[in-house]
Assembly symmetry: C2
Homo-oligomer: 209 residues x 2
DNA sequence: AGGATGTTGTGCTTATTTTCCCAATATGAC
DNA sequence: GTCATATTGGGAAAATAAGCACAACATCCT
């Protein structure tokens, strides 16, 4: 199903390349070498070249990569040479912060609706939206053909809500709930849990204080 | 510097084990096998056993792992058998959501202060805090001996603020700014950027719609 | 025109990570 | 007590990922 020609770890680095290249472009840079990009990302230059070479020959020997071209290539490869509409389920503090985050639109991800099941929140304005009853979510997703959902509900609700999203047609879920979802293999899931990162770092901290 | 005896990928999985074990404990479970835990996490049981065996022999052959014991061991290994105080720098929508997130305290990470450089925000209440001028941050960090910081400032400010945090004594940074920080090797950094995850998933989405 | 320098793409090597497999041990049924 | 079943820990193998090194090519300087 997924393109096993390209390792997932490689796909995972492409957004980092793209992000840095866009940054460089705003600074007016036109060309960059794998060595320079590697330095900014703290990676090995050969790794960057090899990653990119899996999709084509984008550089020029002796010169490097033309930044606008490489950005266009990466956006095409990642399917972000378009705008993806997304839903947010969960209108708590996190859901509100997400709705107000300008980074999504800048990068071609546009929030299209936000849902909750709490009568106290349904109907209330958040950013440019009115919170909708989550019971209308499946219908909305189906009628609009939305494919991406952000899950910002409590852990206890996450699995059930995720299943509803998937059965309505959602195929990629960004899960902020601190739990592992069990979903069909053709559904992409990525997790964001700050506690996991903090505990990971705490391992390396001295037991002082 | 970092304990290369234990691969970082292994350390990165321990918080997931811990999270799931705590979940099981609240459900009243006392014992679990690597096979059962692996199923919940969608991992290979041998991987879980090998990861754990790097730190000791915590299981009983023929039986499995005693959940409360394993939780205690993992908390000790990860240095989260204590409470870590943290600072948040950046009092925008994200900073506010972080301050109000109950998950930190539940897991032994307590926000101790929040800072911003915007006069319109300094002095305003957020959750149980008053936003402090970031110019007091280094002094506060030094005097309290804080080691962990959450960076929730715009990309343009991230590197400079991170350097100030480090020179004040911060040794672990959870970075929400969409950029790679360049810091001394003895400083732990973890990144959270939803765009990176969304682009990663978009790679696998069909170009329909 | 030619040499010095810089850079890519990739074959091959090395390193790391994952998985297989099984001896050793535990539990429960009869 | 013995057998069937369940499970760990870890050596060995397999799979995956990262990095080296170099031919090929580009640019610039003189």
């Amino acid at each position: 199903m997924t393109d096993k020609q390209v390792p997932d770890v490689v796909v995972g680095r492409l957004p980092l390349y793209l992000r840095t290249l866009k940054q460089l472009q705003t600074e007016g840079r036109r060309v960059i070498s794998s060595a320079q990009l590697a330095k900014l990302l703290h990676l090995n230059p050969a790794q960057i070249r090899k990653d990119l070479s899996m999709f084509g020959e984008f550089g020029r020997q002796g010169v490097g990569y033309t930044i606008p071209d490489l950005i266009a290539q990466l956006e095409r490869i990642l399917h972000v040479d378009r705008t993806w509409e997304m839903i947010v389920v969960g209108a708590g503090a996190l859901g509100q912060a997400l709705v107000n985050y300008p980074g999504f639109e800048i990068n071609g991800f546009r929030i299209a609706a936000i849902y909750d099941n709490d009568p106290a929140k349904i109907g209330k304005p958040i950013g440019r939206f009115i919170v909708r009853d989550v019971q209308y979510m499946p219908e909305d997703v189906r009628s609009h053909g939305w494919r991406i959902g952000i899950l910002a509900v409590p852990e206890a609700a996450a699995q059930a809500v995720a299943e509803q999203m998937v059965s309505a047609g959602i195929r990629a879920i960004l899960c902020y709930a601190p739990t592992v979802l069990t979903l069909p293999g053709n559904v992409q899931v990525q997790y964001i849990d700050p506690i996991v990162h903090l505990q990971h770092m705490a391992f390396y901290l001295e037991e002082t204080d």
